[in-house]
């Protein structure tokens, strides 16, 4: 920056004008500087000349200089600090800005004490801005002390009871954005007893009526935090009752706001499924909703599904399955399966809907329905064997690996009931070499199952598949599994039976998509990015992603149980090993997968149980994952035919 500018060119000319004795000429020059900056020219060399023009009564000019200043502040930090002093001390936010540039200076000069005093100011705008500034400084100070190896993590913004009272008064009077700041601060306050919590809830409740979505969500956040300590029955009831209508109204906001609200509602429902129990209809998709809104609505509808509303829901899902957006259609079909698994009594109706969908013979609908039916077979074994012939009749329609593999699994599982099972599996065996690995794995397992169930007729075919899998296949997973089966079958058929035909634990729809401890953390941050991503803040800010180990530690810390840590490590290690073998997995997958593993591992006490459960439920959770992440196949556990997609 110190390089002397040449004595010609535009910047030089501007410099002349900036130092001109005529006011309008100077003002004009500043405007040109800003215009130049906007189109991308470097004007930082003019810094001192522009700053000089700050000494003026002309408000207009002052603002323009200020604008320039903020844009170039970082190139000349020392000068800016000087400059800030000459500005009028209007905004409390200024202190936060200075803190950003030079924290020591702020503390030294006692600016922060001044801010604390300002909370008691009579003007609610001032209070709100002081709160915003303090909260900002607090956050900055924390990340600062983290980077400085925790040397004195000074809590610069302590909220005591006196502050609380002032905040509650200001809350009702300040502007909408000020309210958001105050609500966020109230969320940080730790109430001393239940009475205080109740008081806060009562005072915050009126904010539900605000037309700013962020204020509403901010109020929801405060209530969700303080409701834990509320004991008065009547208040509890009125809080949950009054929370529903504003949430529903958020669904008529612009799509982006809607999406933020939906992501938060999704979290809320994981903790308190009752709040919107009667409101499923509002989440019905409009045909022109953006896809990201539709997907969220779908997930929420499944969460709200109950015996009472399941018929309406199924009718609606069937409707979606005939739309044009392929991705959405698939998700709708998948949702039908989720409903079947969630509500026992509705399973039969769901299967009916799926059969209707298969009848449409639209390729991707049929394929998705087959995948979903596989899950239903796992949840309700031996209940719907009657539909198997129809499924087999659609064999030729299937061209996607997942759908093929699903159908093959079904055939293998019910090999003894399907007369021409050997014939059907034979067709897959013929094209064995060209098939994808997941299909190969399934064909292999299904044929071994067939052999164990009907040994007499299928000796030849099992020989052929073992040959093909060990000789012609270049995938280590497939080969290894084939060798294991081969040895089992040749040495101890009884053991093979015990392994391959073992009874698998039933699958269920998980109530939550994140671990309970993390859910609590996220509910405390409603309306923030963390609650929108459904990931703790530490995973996407600061040092970057939180490693699996650190995540594990956090979960375990809150749960405080050593056995869980072990379970977790087992699962994580297993998962990572799996992914190393996976050809398709891109770099992004391991952290996501391990994140998921931890999420469900926290619930289990027995690592192996959890491992089984994890794989069996994983596909039910697809919408919760980042959609479109490459499919990774897992073939773990010798006897587990239950491979699933993560």
């Amino acid at each position: 920056m110190a390089v002397a500018p040449p004595r010609k060119g535009e910047n030089w000319e501007l410099r002349q004008q900036l130092n001109s004795e005529y006011r309008d000429k100077r003002a004009d020059a500043i405007k040109r500087v800003i215009a130049n900056h906007t189109i991308g020219k470097d004007c930082s060399g003019l810094f001192p000349d522009v700053v000089k023009n700050m000494q003026t009564d002309d408000l207009e000019q002052k603002k323009l200089v200020y604008l320039y200043l903020m844009n170039y502040a970082k190139t000349q930090p020392e000068l800016v600090i000087l400059a800030v002093n000459t500005f009028v001390k209007t905004a409390a936010l200024c202190v936060a800005k200075v803190f950003d540039l030079k924290p020591e200076l702020c503390i030294e000069y006692g600016f922060i004490e001044t801010l604390r005093d300002l909370i008691g100011d009579g003007n609610p705008m001032v209070v709100a801005n002081a709160v915003t500034a303090l909260a900002d400084i607090h956050e900055a100070a924390q990340s600062l002390s983290e980077t400085a190896n925790g040397s004195g993590s000074a809590n610069l913004f302590i909220i005591d009871q006196a502050t609380l009272a002032k905040l509650l008064v200001a809350l009702n009077e300040c502007s909408e954005w000020g309210r958001i700041a105050i609500l966020s601060t109230l969320a940080r306050y730790k109430a001393s007893d239940s009475e205080e919590s109740e008081h806060i809830c009562e005072r915050v409740m009126p904010q539900f009526q605000h037309n700013n979505a962020a204020v509403v969500l901010g109020a929801v956040k405060v209530i969700m935090i303080h409701i834990k300590h509320v004991h008065r029955e009547d208040l509890l009831k009125s809080l949950t009752r009054k929370m529903a209508p504003p949430l529903v109204t958020l669904i008529s906001s612009p799509p982006e706001v809607q999406w933020v609200a939906l992501r938060n509602i999704n979290l809320l429902l994981q903790k308190r499924p009752d709040i919107l129990a009667n409101e499923m209809r509002v989440f019905f998709c409009k045909y022109n909703d953006p896809p990201y809104v539709k997907v969220e609505k779908l997930e929420i509808m499944v969460r709200l599904a109950s015996e009472k509303n399941v018929d309406t829901l199924l009718g609606e899902l069937k409707e979606y399955a005939s739309e044009v957006d392929v991705d959405f259609v698939r998700k709708a079909v998948r949702a039908v399966g989720q409903v079947a698994i969630k509500i026992d009594t509705a399973a039969e109706r769901c299967v009916g809907v799926l059969m209707d969908l298969i009848e449409t013979r639209v390729s991707y609908v049929v394929q998705e329905a087959v995948i979903v039916l596989k899950d239903i077979f796992r949840r309700y074994p031996h209940s719907y064997e009657g539909i198997i012939p129809t499924l087999c009749a659609n064999l030729d329609e299937l061209d996607e690996p997942e759908a093929k593999a699903s159908l093959i699994w079904i055939i293998g599982e019910y090999a003894e009931k399907i007369e021409n099972a050997d014939e059907l599996l034979g067709t897959f065996l013929e094209a064995f070499k060209e098939e994808s690995y997941p299909v190969q794995l399934q064909t292999l397992t299904a044929i071994v199952k067939l052999f164990l169930k009907k040994p007499d007729e299928s000796q030849a075919i099992v020989q052929r598949v073992l040959q093909a899998a060990t000789k012609d296949c270049d995938n280590a997973d497939v080969r290894d599994r084939a060798y294991i089966y081969w040895r089992l079958l040749s040495s101890d058929p009884a053991a093979a039976k015990a392994v391959v035909l073992s009874v698998r634990p039933p699958i269920s729809l998980p109530q939550t998509t994140v671990a309970p401890a993390i859910l609590e953390e996220l509910l405390g941050e409603i309306s923030s990015l963390a609650s929108v991503y459904h990931k703790p803040a530490a995973t996407f800010i600061g040092k970057g992603r939180l490693g699996a180990e650190e995540m594990a530690k956090r979960t375990v810390e809150t749960e405080d149980e050593v056995s869980r840590e072990k379970a977790l490590q087992t699962v994580v290690a297993g998962q990572q090993a799996e992914n190393l073998l996976d050809f398709d997995a891109d770099d992004d997958v391991p952290p996501k997968v391990s994140g998921w593993a931890i999420a469900s591992a926290a619930k289990a006490s027995n690592p192996l149980d959890e491992l089984m459960d994890l794989f069996s439920t994983a596909s039910m959770n697809v919408p919760a994952q980042t959609p479109g992440a490459p499919m990774a196949m897992n073939a773990t556990g010798g006897g587990m035919a239950g491979w699933e997609w993560i």
Partner: protein, 418 residues
């Protein structure tokens, strides 16, 4: 909290940007669109907020523009997304239409606005009425010095002092829009009423207003017997001028209004609604030659009311413009019938059925579905002038007054009654 706000054109190039903090370099703006395109390519859902390499991208779309905010912290996503919508509204109000052209013409004023509306990444004043008072369109030509109105730092941040009108008047518009979803078999599966009370306020000084509605909850809480019908509003939202704690206590709607036009409150009712305009449509398609439509419309409301500008959009195959069935005035209890037929090319795409439902537009003046009534509007100002309040009612279709069609338009199947 946002470190940077930018407006991008459809190619992802920044038209104008404003850094509020230095923790996110502006170079990240250029990464936004490539990231979005990558996600689309990989079939990952592009959501309004996403994170990449420690930077959080929050954006909304408006016409052909992206309004983007970047941040490094765990910011309040609801606040920022809502702020971007407000920014959009304010700029639209300034330039009528917010598009590339109007941004290029108004760099300085947009910088000023960005500067006033957000400070250090925190939203400040977003009320366009107040902003317009001191950030004026031709500000650089102004001779007189502009002082920021007291309102910016006042307790009443939405109204300036010293407003004078010769005639003090208030106009209230109660507008109810009806959303209705009818499935293919003719049943109403979802209906709701979205109401709004809009106000045009031309009052001097700092008036205190009190609005009385036939609100059931208030009648019940005060123990007063309702004269006539009262309504139960499920959720009410107010403009920031309304004292929410008073409403919570005794359901009184009291406020100091902003000057000019604004939306005072909105409410929602999910009471079942009888379809006001009933449509029955039947389609007879002769494969490969022609298709015939017959659409029947009936006004299902009181005889003395009239629906104006009724428009019915019927979905047709891809390669045709949707026919619009327009009736200027539809009297209560009356029927209309439209017949149309189209020749079709003999070559036909097999997967034709676009799933657009039939939609209907209408306006019924002097009528509300919910039966909401303004009982009084009291205006008190310390100078003691008397002011005239006026009220109008209007009922219109919502964005979502639709009925679904049967997937396969077989011969002479009824699409659906509405």
């Amino acid at each position: 909290m946002a470190s940077l706000v930018a407006i991008l054109d459809v190619k992802g190039k920044s038209l104008i940007q404003r850094s509020y903090r230095d923790d996110v370099p502006p170079s990240y703006i250029e990464r936004f669109l490539p990231l979005v395109l990558d996600m689309e390519e990989e079939n990952v859902q592009v959501t309004p907020c996403f994170t990449d390499e420690g930077i959080n991208y929050m954006h909304i779309r408006h016409n052909n523009l992206y309004l983007l905010a970047l941040s490094k912290r765990n910011s309040n996503a609801a606040e920022i997304i809502f702020f971007l919508h407000r920014l959009c509204a304010v700029l639209s109000e300034y330039f009528k239409e917010l598009e590339e052209e109007s941004i290029r013409d108004n760099f300085v004023i947009i910088y000023e606005l960005l500067d006033e509306m957000m400070d250090f990444g925190y939203p400040q004043t977003t009320e366009s009425k107040i902003l317009q008072e001191y950030i004026t369109q031709e500000s650089h030509k102004l001779e007189v010095q502009v002082r920021p109105p007291m309102a910016v730092t006042n307790a009443v941040s939405w109204r300036s002092e010293g407003i004078r009108y010769r005639k003090n008047e208030v106009f209230l518009d109660v507008v109810e829009s009806v959303n209705l979803l009818v499935n293919a078999s003719g049943n109403v599966i979802r209906s709701e009423i979205l109401g709004a009370v809009k106000m045009k306020c031309y009052l001097s000084g700092m008036p205190e207003l009190r609005l009385g509605l036939n609100d059931k909850v208030m009648f019940e809480s005060t123990g007063r017997a309702a004269r006539g019908k009262s309504i139960e509003m499920e959720d009410v939202k107010f403009h920031q001028c309304v004292r929410l704690s008073r409403f919570e206590n005794d359901r009184t709607i009291s406020f100091i209004p902003p000057d000019g036009e604004f939306e005072l409150m909105s409410y929602r009712l999910s009471t079942p609604v009888k379809p006001l305009v009933w449509v029955e449509a039947s389609v007879e398609s002769h494969r490969g030659s022609r298709v015939e439509y017959m659409v029947k419309v009936r006004g299902q409301f009181k005889r003395r009311s009239t629906a104006n500008n009724v428009e019915i959009y019927v979905p047709v195959p891809d390669d045709a413009d949707s026919p619009k069935f327009r009736i200027k005035q539809l009297g209560g209890g009356r029927d209309y019938l439209m017949r149309a037929h189209f020749g079709l090319p003999s070559v036909r795409n097999e997967e034709l059925d676009k799933r657009a439902p039939i939609s209907v537009k209408f306006e019924i003046p002097y009528f509300t579905v919910s039966g909401i009534q303004v009982r009084y509007l009291k205006i008190v100002e310390k100078s003691g002038y008397s002011a005239l309040p006026w009220v109008r009612y209007l009922c219109v279709n919502g964005d979502d007054y639709v009925l679904r069609t049967i997937t396969d338009a077989k011969a002479s199947s009824i699409i659906a009654p509405l």
